[in-house]
């Protein structure tokens, strides 16, 4: 069975400049600064003892006051997992670095989040809608999206 990686262990393993960008440790994830997301993910992907080499899923959540993006990472070799979380307080122009450079599988999932929540992934090779069509007004998974369509 897949073991949940202890978040204290991750924070201890991170080098000083990356550990400072960890905002908080919650029960279900490590909340980090959006600017350092790519660095932390790249570090965890190759660091011996972590080797979180498989990006299982990316989920975008509208938490009314902020957007949250959850990255579920697995290690195929060591059979453990962890969740990275990014919170975006700016709801008007939310942006987060793309992980498509690290995991190609992130590309489509990031497009899905862009489509339904309107979060921009900077550095994404092909940032456009995936489920809805071009010209669709708004982003329907936002809590303030009305039924007037």
């Amino acid at each position: 069975m897949t073991v949940q990686l202890e978040y204290n262990r991750i924070v201890e393993a991170l080098p000083q400049n990356l550990a400072s960008s960890v905002i908080a440790i919650e029960d279900h994830g490590l909340i980090i600064q959006p600017e350092r997301l790519t660095d932390i993910a790249a570090f965890l992907k190759v660091e011996p003892g972590m080797e979180l080499d498989y990006l299982c899923s990316i989920t975008g959540v509208d938490c009314i006051n902020y957007f949250e993006i959850d990255y579920l990472l697995y290690s195929i070799k060591l059979n453990h997992r962890c969740t990275l979380k990014v919170r975006l307080a700016d709801k008007s122009e939310p942006a987060v670095p793309s992980l498509a450079g690290l995991w190609l599988g992130a590309e489509l999932q990031e497009r899905e989040i862009f489509d339904l929540l309107g979060i921009n992934f900077s550095g994404h090779p092909d940032m456009k809608r995936i489920f809805l069509w071009e010209g669709f007004p708004g982003h329907p998974l936002r809590k303030d999206y009305g039924h007037g369509c």
């Binding site: 809805l132 069509w133 010209g135 039924h147």
Partner: protein, 195 residues
């Protein structure tokens, strides 16, 4: 993004968006019932009646279904077409993958606006005469997704529907009853009416 032969994928997306928006704007209300004339008393003479009978017999006993199933009602259709319910009894066991061979479209499942142009195009490419059965709540009115931003509220917004089968999903027996209704409808066609 360039996807080969000088085609930009964004141009394709924009074109698709225009097509969907146009379709959405033109589908504000449901299309009328295609065969309202069936209730009218039409003039029949001995020749037209005989030809009608022959043609309608041929049509109703070889309804070939187009495989354009969009969602979960499909499984009820699969069940209907398999051995237990066996629509081979009605000469319908041939599922056609090309609309050129098909004359019946069973709209099994929820239709999204993104898929709507394709379904409409497949319908338009089917050979004459052709019929449509709207199967399930989503096919009739959009079902529980009727208010959704992404779902077509009923196939009759984009296609002329002949028979409606309620249910979520309809049982195979219900589908058979719907097919039986369509067969009765086909029996009433007449060349005197240009059909």
């Amino acid at each position: 993004m360039e996807i080969g032969s000088g085609i930009n994928s964004m141009d394709l997306d924009l074109h698709e968006g225009h097509v969907i928006e146009d379709l959405k704007n033109s589908a504000a209300s449901a299309l009328p019932e295609p065969s309202r004339w069936l209730d009218e008393e039409i003039e029949r003479n001995i020749i037209t009646t005989t030809v009608d009978k022959l043609l309608n017999w041929g049509r109703k006993t070889s309804l070939w279904t187009e495989t354009s199933f969009t969602a979960c009602c499909t499984f009820e259709f699969i069940s209907t077409s398999s051995s237990r319910f066996d629509i081979a009894r009605f000469g319908m066991e041939v599922l056609r993958s090309s609309p050129r061979h098909a004359d019946l479209m069973i709209t099994a499942g929820t239709l999204t606006w993104k898929m709507a142009p394709q379904i409409k195009r497949v319908y338009e490419q089917m050979a004459e005469p052709k019929w449509v059965i709207a199967m399930g709540a989503c096919g009739i009115s959009g079902g529980i997704f009727a208010d959704s931003y992404a779902v077509v509220p009923g196939y009759n917004r984009i296609l002329p529907v002949d028979v409606y089968i309620p249910g979520c999903p309809p049982r195979p027996e219900a589908l058979l009853a719907g097919i039986e209704l369509l067969r009765k409808k086909i029996e009433k066609r007449s060349i005197a009416k240009g059909n």
